[in-house]
Symmetry: C2
Subunit: 336 residues, 2 copies
DNA sequence: ATGAAAGCGCTAACAG
DNA sequence: CTGTTAGCGCTTTCAT
């Protein structure tokens, strides 16, 4: 690879002149400029970003840490991140922990060593994890989940509202006895969606049967297993099931099907997330869209601001508004 | 951030001693070693990978270029890549062209500047693209698709066989009049799958009606539109449809459904890819698994070898064997 | 076995 | 306006 030195020789100018034309950081006479650009072309010169980074202490690279790229929630988010990174000539180092929690420390160290300019982390839910992140001293923004009392840079979604949208739809469809298939209550999104469900039910003057409120995980298996459990333990089945996320809804529908229960004819099922595939699922899933592409985009834009700002800027929490997506899994309005 | 210099001062040893203990590149007396490691801990020192890279001319970073991370084909592949990268302390810079073909040049330049140790590129199908890649002088391996006459490092799948598996299954189910919904014939995978289909049909002594062989793209819309076309143009519908990929099959099934044609009762549909959601699709899709996770893994392993080898090593083409996955979309055996 | 010093390719004072 | 020079943080001969 040609270096700046090669260019300076070829063009018969000094190093700083070469640097000046490359970075347009100072006026250079048209003549010298041409000599330099010609030499660059001739030698097919490309600046060495590693050397530049060493000097400038900035790599124009950020790290993105996600738990499982196989989860359909992530690809749109990553695309959003990558799109704005690309527009700003930043690169994205992808770190996929594959749900192995201990990988995160290793990634954090690697990112530190590689001198990334910042970090984007999806689904950090515990103070312990947050601590590790803080210890790196890197700039960062959290996405989607957040640890207790977290009040720094964040972009997420109004989870309470997402449940309300779901319940309202179900109620409008005429369902009254509604179950909730939730997630891990250690995670704020699961807590908020659950409480949004309960309060909205009360708002409608509807009972929530404690036997019909399940905890679980954000996984298909969790939905499937909780259906089994419900079928065993509950004598009077619900008319509708409100789930904490689409993947859970997928599991629920599978479980119901396996038990010979039709969706939506016998029981309606509502998702939450609107993941890529819900539209094409066994039974097209009504859901609540969280626009994870937008989340990715906004989080990267926020991070970029944080990075550019020399002085620490005020932290910001961006909360997106979810929107209802009606498909087939909750049937047709019963009232009409 | 603490630097090696800080450590050397604190531990009262020379820079080279510090370097030696960090890299275990030379014997250092236990005593000095301890002084150094203590200092490292005390100052919470992390080596600066940028500086190291500048010196060593290697970044332990590779670039991965894909066309669209939203395509369910990619996440498993990327996961495979990332998993082996992680095991070797490599990082992955993700480049998502979002199907904007011109983005690829920009990414290539960025990767060059960032001095990545190598490149993994999925779905490079033209000689023009290949040329651009070659011009960078970077080490690379191609995944899945390949340009005409390409005989360098590659990991892909036996596309001919994938069609044969599909046809054999369909024939075994008793179908005789079988359509083929293909892809863009400029792409080798589409060509190979198509010719695999035709030759396997002939092998079985079955006619292939030219009106029942469609070109298209690897997209849902393509499948959908070709169904419409078929419905308009063909008087006698096929008993089964063999598709070039799952997304096409998705479109086909949607199109058939919209026309009131049931799958598999009226027409059977076979996928090819076995993408993540096929199992949960409207009608669970029978398909041919390409194990894209494995492809990702193997390609990264191959690239790592290429990078480690000082002398150019012989190029290698790894062709994986697909396997049949039977679900519901091709119905139950008609012969029994 | 340890240390001194040169240099990776670039940027940014500073001088002229 | 252009050139000289001193590093950025690290590795690696080469002496000692």
């Amino acid at each position: 690879m040609a270096t700046m030195k090669d260019i300076s020789k070829k063009a018969n100018v000094s190093l700083s002149t070469v640097s000046a034309v490359i970075n347009q950081s100072a006026y250079v006479s048209p003549e010298l400029t041409k000599r330099v650009t010609d030499a660059i072309k001739e030698l097919n010169y490309r600046p060495n970003a590693v050397a530049r980074s060493l000097k400038k202490k900035s790599t124009e690279t950020i790290g993105v840490i996600v738990t499982d790229i196989l989860n359909p929630f992530y690809p749109p988010m990553i695309k959003g991140i990558e799109d704005v990174a690309f527009d700003h000539n930043f690169n994205v180092i992808l770190c996929n922990t594959s749900n192995e929690h201990n990988r995160i420390s290793t990634y954090l160290e690697l990112m530190l060593e590689k001198q990334v300019d910042g970090l984007l982390l999806a689904n950090i839910a515990t103070s312990a994890d947050l601590n590790e992140i803080e210890k790196t001293g890197l700039k960062y923004v959290l996405i989607n989940r957040k640890p207790p009392f977290y009040d720094k840079n964040f972009v997420g979604i109004n989870n309470t509202l997402s449940s309300e949208l779901a319940v309202n739809h179900l109620v409008r469809q005429g369902y009254k006895r509604i179950a909730f298939f939730g997630g891990d209550l250690k995670i704020n999104t699961a807590r908020e969606r659950r409480s949004g469900f309960i309060s909205c039910m009360m708002e409608h003057g509807l009972d929530v049967d404690p036997k019909l409120v399940f905890e679980g995980e954000y996984s298909l298996d969790s939905g499937y297993n909780n259906v089994k459990k419900m079928l065993m333990e509950v004598e009077q089945l619900p008319e509708a099931i409100c789930t904490v996320s689409d993947v859970v809804a997928f599991g629920v529908i599978k479980g119901l099907r396996d038990a010979g229960i039709r969706v939506p004819d016998d029981i309606a099922v509502m998702g939450n997330d609107n993941s890529a595939f819900s539209e094409h699922f066994l039974v097209p899933l009504s859901s609540v869209d969280h626009s994870s592409y937008e989340m990715g985009k906004l989080s990267m834009e926020l991070l970029l601001q944080v990075i550019k700002e020399k002085e620490a800027m005020a932290d910001r929490q961006i909360i997106l508004t979810p929107s209802l997506v009606v498909r087939e899994s909750c049937g047709v309005n019963r009232n009409t």
